[in-house]
């Protein structure tokens, strides 16, 4: 098992190398002079130009530029933002917790609702239950979430006034950002319960929007995976032993059906981050998605470059975690030495 994990670790190195090339090439592929393009109409003094050139390393031979870029990246130096002049890595980690919080809750909702929907549809196969649930799932799967967000805002925030339209927490609460996750930090404020409630209030709608597409994918995957397992011989054996349907599904079938579901959940991470870019933009959620969109609009290329590398690292890391989980839940992989 350990060998397998090391093997997966090594297999992710070429991808990391490729991503570093993409991130490196990015600023150099900007048509025309990248520094002039970045400053655009703002104009740039000669002094600034030279400083920027040194900052981005554009004044040295290309090979040397690449190695110094990678070397710097390894020590966490991704250059400075043009607009705020702050280090990219600092800005990234200031916003990352907001995205993590949103993403985690979104994924949690998707799993919490998606798996039961899939189970019900599989157990009640070819009944109106199945058709309704799977039909709804396909609608969710096809949902343009930027529109879905607007519709939900229109209904819950504007018409009903139940949830706020944007932001992470009411400005009334003074939060000391320890972890950056407001669901946790709010407990350390002066009015823990009220602050926590406000944070949940702000989080619930964006998280649900973000959960929509993964939820549908998980429900569809759970259904088909469970249906496949329910056709196996050992399920027939379990049924003929006189076990109730519930016992058969929960004890015998679900465990084996879980393997492909875990894979899908891992693959959905990219979808969650994609969704986060759109969701954060609409809900003015101060996470990395909105930050990135603003950076592209402002041609703040060091930010774009840095976040390509950082986000890819996060995804590669999580995929690695999923692979390891996969090895753990799948005994045939766990016990083999290959």
């Amino acid at each position: 098992m350990f060998k397998l994990i090391v093997k997966r670790l090594i297999a992710s190195l070429p991808t990391l190398f490729g991503v570093s090339l993409v991130a490196f090439a990015f600023i150099r592929l900007v048509p025309g002079d990248p520094i002039l393009a970045m400053f655009g109409e703002r104009g740039v003094s000669e002094e600034m130009y030279l400083e920027m050139q040194a900052n981005l390393g554009l004044d040295k031979p290309v090979i040397q530029q690449y190695f110094s870029f990678v070397g710097k990246a390894m020590t966490g130096d991704f250059g400075n933002s043009i607009v705020s002049r702050e280090p990219v890595i600092k800005e990234f980690f200031a916003r990352f917790p907001a995205t993590i919080e949103l993403g985690f809750l979104g994924m949690f909702l998707a799993i919490l609702i998606g798996i039961p929907i899939g189970i019900i549809a599989a157990v009640k196969r070819n009944t109106p239950w199945d058709y309704t649930l799977m039909g709804t799932s396909l609608v969710g799967y096809s949902m343009p979430i930027f529109w879905w967000a607007l519709v939900l805002i229109m209904f819950f925030s504007v018409n009903k006034g139940w949830t706020p339209v944007s932001g992470r927490i009411s400005v009334m609460y003074d939060i000391n950002r320890v972890t950056g996750l407001l669901l946790i930090d709010s407990w350390f404020s002066d009015e823990p319960w009220l602050a926590f409630k406000s944070a949940v209030h702000h989080l619930i709608l964006p998280a649900f929007v973000l959960a929509t597409v993964p939820l549908a994918s998980i429900a569809r995957m759970t259904r088909s995976s469970l249906l496949e397992v329910l056709g196996e011989d050992y399920i027939r054996t379990a049924k003929s032993k006189g076990l109730t349907l519930k016992a058969v599904v929960v004890i015998h079938a679900l465990r084996n059906a879980l393997i492909p579901i875990v894979t899908v959940i891992g693959l959905l991470l990219g979808a969650v981050l994609t969704g986060a870019i759109l969701t954060e933009t609409i809900f003015s959620w101060p996470g990395i998605g909105r930050w990135l969109v603003t950076a592209v609009e402002a041609r703040d290329y060091p930010i774009v470059q840095g976040s390509i590398l950082l986000i890819a690292c996060v995804i590669i890391f999580v995929n690695l975690m999923v692979d390891i989980t996969y090895i753990i839940v799948n005994p045939t992989l766990r016990d083999s030495n290959t």
Binding site: P14, T15, G18, V19, L21, V22, F26, L29, V30, P31, N126, G135, L138, V139, Y141, S142, M143, P144, F146, W147, W148, L150, V151, I153, M154, V158, G270, A271, L273, T274, I277, L278, T281, L292, V293, V296, E297, R299, Y301, V304, S307, I308, I311, A312, I315, I316, N319
Partner: protein, 284 residues
């Protein structure tokens, strides 16, 4: 072919989807004849008119007008054209490069395969919209660049599916027989193997349409795809999102159009898979 059609029509959802898609296609092709007005014609003093209302000069606006007085129905109709075209271009680009790279990877294997698959890994290690945004940042925001960006992002799906199908087919004895007859690589890969890999490619094409339309609309919504005044559904949503309270139909309609079109392609993709994939045939 007959069994395929029988299997496909057995799936009611897919049949309805196919019918709706034909309707959409009809609207897209005959947009100039169907639209009551030009999509960019501005009617002064007719801003944000309610659906089914008459302007002061007696013009009927079935779905009302938008914030600067353009007939909304006409814009939606022309939007069908844009979205269909977008889907088509994304799919065509992906088929060209997906076939080229996927067949090479699956057929030659070894180093060629390793190289192409690393490329796929790199593309897939970035979230799709993020990569699309980065490409647009390089090329500049426009509908064409949005289409290029979305095609690149969707390419791994095509390459992987084509590669897998080619690899499976390559093992079969008829290919080996052709090798012994001295057939060229081109002959074997394109004339012998490829026609037997069509089923998964057709399914992926249908799903590629929905993916492409959705992602280009998302880019348009973020201001990085089509630009105003193009009557693109994503752009129309951005334009009207500030009027959630005063003119909600301006928000609901374009999104609903995207949803229905994407849903149809997904339904058809599901139906095609059930009808074409022998492994799943008869299982439901």
């Amino acid at each position: 072919m007959k069994t395929f059609f029988k299997n496909f029509t057995k799936n009611k959802g897919a049949t309805v989807a196919l019918f709706l898609l034909i309707c959409f296609l009809f609207v897209a092709i005959f947009a100039p004849l169907l639209a009551p007005y030009s999509p960019n014609e501005i009617f002064e003093d007719a801003y944000k008119l309610q659906p089914m209302s008459y302007a002061a000069n007696g013009n009927l606006h079935l779905l009302g007008t938008d914030d600067i007085g353009r007939d909304f129905l006409s814009r939606l109709i022309y939007g069908t054209r844009v979205s269909f075209g977008v889907g088509l271009m994304v799919v065509v680009l992906d088929l060209i490069f997906g076939l080229l790279l996927g067949v090479s990877a699956g057929y030659f294997g070894g180093k060629v395969d390793a190289f192409i698959m690393r490329l796929v890994d790199v593309i897939m290690s970035l979230p799709s919209i993020l990569l699309a945004i980065v490409i647009v940042a390089l090329l500049g925001p426009s509908l064409i660049n949005g289409i290029i960006a979305v095609s690149v992002v969707a390419l791994p799906n095509f390459i992987r599916i084509i590669r897998a199908a080619v690899m499976a087919e390559k093992q079969k004895s008829y290919v080996m027989a052709n090798t012994n007859f001295g057939a060229s690589h081109f002959r074997k890969a394109v004339l012998n193997i490829l026609p037997n890999c069509l089923a998964p490619i057709i399914v992926q094409t249908s799903l590629g349409f929905s993916d492409g339309i959705l992602n280009v609309a998302a880019l348009g919504f973020l201001g990085m795809g089509a630009q105003a005044p193009t009557p693109e559904w994503g752009v129309m949503l951005t334009d009207s999102k500030d009027y959630l309270e005063t003119a909600s139909w301006l928000v609901t309609m374009p999104g609903l159009c995207i949803l229905v079109l994407v849903l149809c392609f997904n339904l058809m993709g599901d139906g095609l898979r059930d009808a074409l994939d022998p492994k799943l045939r008869g299982s439901d």
